[in-house]
């Protein structure tokens, strides 16, 4: 089995502060790879490096064996890596369906002439994208469908905004989904649901998933592989059960045991 995403010796500094230190790991296709670690461990920075928002100082990132370092974020997305944001960055004043459809920009088969003259190809393509967007939204049950299509995104509840962001990422037709704390700010019921959903994304939609999460119940429930970061370094890796009992991990989370 060849790796879907491979990070090789990544380093990243911010003005002398080392945020990621010689980090390497591999994400296998069709698996959920979880990144955990205390606050400030460099998890979100890592996601920004993969999605091209930051550039690594050195090291390489391979996607299906090809380096994606130096590409612009939209090019990386077009190749098949989509993400969500920890802080939620929806297009708040656009409708729900538009939020999702906008993410299909680079796949839409239409040029300026089609757009201006409303050619049959334009109509066909718009209809196809709309159907596809409705299908993605349908993945989340009845919450984001029907009359909701044309409501502005700012009218959604917090949990639904998180769902919409996942749907939007799915619309780019990615192979890898990077989820940055999808359960943050959710209540226990919603968290359970999101956990099940991430499992579905892997099993039914077949995405490779890289997950950042604080909530251990989410991570423990679905992860195929867990990587623990602390101060930008990988301190442990393996199954969830192995990792959480690792001495260094406990130390990173709880502090050194006084002996």
């Amino acid at each position: 089995m060849s790796a879907q995403l491979e990070l090789k010796h990544i380093n990243k500094n911010f003005g002398g502060l080392r945020v990621i230190n010689d980090l390497s790991f591999v994400a296998q296709p069709g698996q959920i790879t979880s990144l955990i670690g205390p606050n400030g461990a460099g998890k979100t920075t890592l996601l920004n490096l993969i999605s091209g928002i930051y550039q690594p100082d050195d090291g390489d990132i391979l996607f299906d064996g090809v380096s994606i370092v130096g590409l612009e974020p939209h090019e990386i997305t077009q190749r098949g890596i989509a993400r969500t944001f920890q802080t939620l960055r929806l297009f708040l004043n656009m409708s729900i369906i538009e939020n999702v459809m906008s993410a299909s920009f680079s796949r839409a088969q239409m040029n300026l002439i089609d757009i201006v003259f409303r050619t049959p190809r334009f109509r066909r393509e718009e209809q196809r994208l709309r159907n596809e967007a409705e299908e993605k939204l349908g993945f989340f049950g009845s919450r984001l469908v029907g009359y909701r299509f044309d409501q502005p995104a700012y009218s959604l509840s917090y949990a639904n905004r998180r769902r919409l962001e996942i749907a939007r990422a799915m619309m780019t037709n990615p192979k890898i989904l990077l989820l940055d704390e999808p359960a943050a700010g959710m209540n226990p019921n919603e968290t359970l649901e999101v956990t099940a959903l991430i499992g579905q994304l892997r099993d039914e939609a077949g995405y490779t998933i890289i997950l950042i999460e604080h909530d251990m119940s989410v991570v423990g429930g679905i992860s195929d592989h867990v990587i623990v970061l602390d101060h930008g370094e990988k301190i442990a890796e393996g199954d969830f059960e192995d990792v959480v009992t690792d001495e260094r991990v406990v130390e990173a989370y709880l502090g050194r045991k006084s002996s």
């Binding site: 939209h74 077009q78 989509a82 459809m101 920009f105 700012y154 509840s157």
Partner: protein, 507 residues
Amino acid sequence: MTEQRIGTDEWVEQHEARLATQSELRELVYGFGEQLPLWGRLGLLLLIGLFVPVLTSNPFHIRIAATIALMATLGVGLNVVVGYAGLLDLGFVAFYGIGAYAYAYLSSDFTGVHLPTLLTIPLITVLGAVVGFLLGLPSLRLVGDYLAIVTLAFGQIFVQLMTSLTRVDLSWVPFLTTDGPVNLTRGPNGIIELDSISIFGFVADTLTENYIIRLVVLILVLLFVHHLNNSRLGRAWRAMREDELAAEAMGMPTRLLKLQAFAIGAAIAALAGTLFAAEQKAVFPANFDVTLLITLYGVVVLGGLGSLPGVLLGAVIMIAVPEILRDIELASLLFYVGSVVALIGLIKPRRLVGLLLLNVAIIGLLVQVIAESIWPDSLAELPSVASVFPEFSVSIRFVTAIIDSLPEIVTSIVRNWLAIPVGNQELIGNIALAILIVLILIASRIKQTTQLLITLVPTMYLLALVWEIRLSGQESVTRLIFVGVVLIVLMIYRPHGLLGTQRIEIV
């Protein structure tokens, strides 16, 4: 204490209520618009537009309509850049100027080139797009306010160059023999005697013909931009305006999208520039100054950024109202009616408006009596309503007749409520204006009705006085002050414009 419910966002809960209070006007326009297909709406616009020259042959009115059509076209272009893509471009007028000057070079004796219109117009539109694209390139590195200031500098450079490129040494250009410095732009004197637009032998010489051409171009541009907005391109622009980083992360090439917005806006501006130059039959650097830029922003912002019907409404208000101010009688009517309407909108309960007006008149009489007794013969007779609006309309003569038939005391109040000085008008007017500005600022802070009424009495009186002795005589300055005030007041009370949607920004 209100009960806090878990899992609901109070702000979102109130969304419907907020929408309901938002705008009756918007509902009206869009409610009507949704009943008609796009071609129906544009057809209706064409019909209304064509009706103007049928209705009136007064060149003054047709000129207003022609200016509105031109400014609306420019506004639609600016709307692409600012409204859709969210790029604050303050150099937009330069593209308009480039279009106009390009037309001058391609269709005048100045260069000796006389290309057919059917060739120049597409050529200049493409040129506009290319220049917009090229000037957009360096701007890509800049964010927000920096973009605004650099584009403003671009716009100024254009005007400066057109003014000062009168003695350019071109001897370094190969294959070009010149005797001494070359005059490239004729400076402030501009390039004159341009060709008219001519299409298949039809030559647009008159104002009306030019107006119809502008109207047709406006409708085509509206159609073009409407289609762009309702496609992947429009979605991507709006997404980019909402959150540039998220748009980029969702696979939208934001740099390219910005350049496309710049280019399309510039192309529309250049096209409008050709229409302007062809009608004026001349171009001058002063045609493309900051006044035009600010008026244009007024057009786009007043209607609501991002709204095409908004641009049309904005153009009608921003152009028609100041133009009407040129006609002193019409302007006075508009001023007084407008003031009363504004008061009715401002003061609740409305019956207090009558009380207020009565008080203004009484104060006016007192001022009159006191002034007469201290400085005899210092006051001019206020022209009676009938003489201000000679034969203006039946209804006003009717009102005058009623006033004349009233008891003498009322007639004298109506006739004499405003004390107009004979001499020193300028000084008195300036002082009154200064006090007026202070009073308006104070009044804008007052919440309590009684206090507001008390403040408004002298305010309204001074407003009328300043209007009569300073503003109404200087229509060109008055309209610019009007534009400035509209921009400020609009941003404070209705930043999304008359027809725009209220936007939510979370920082």
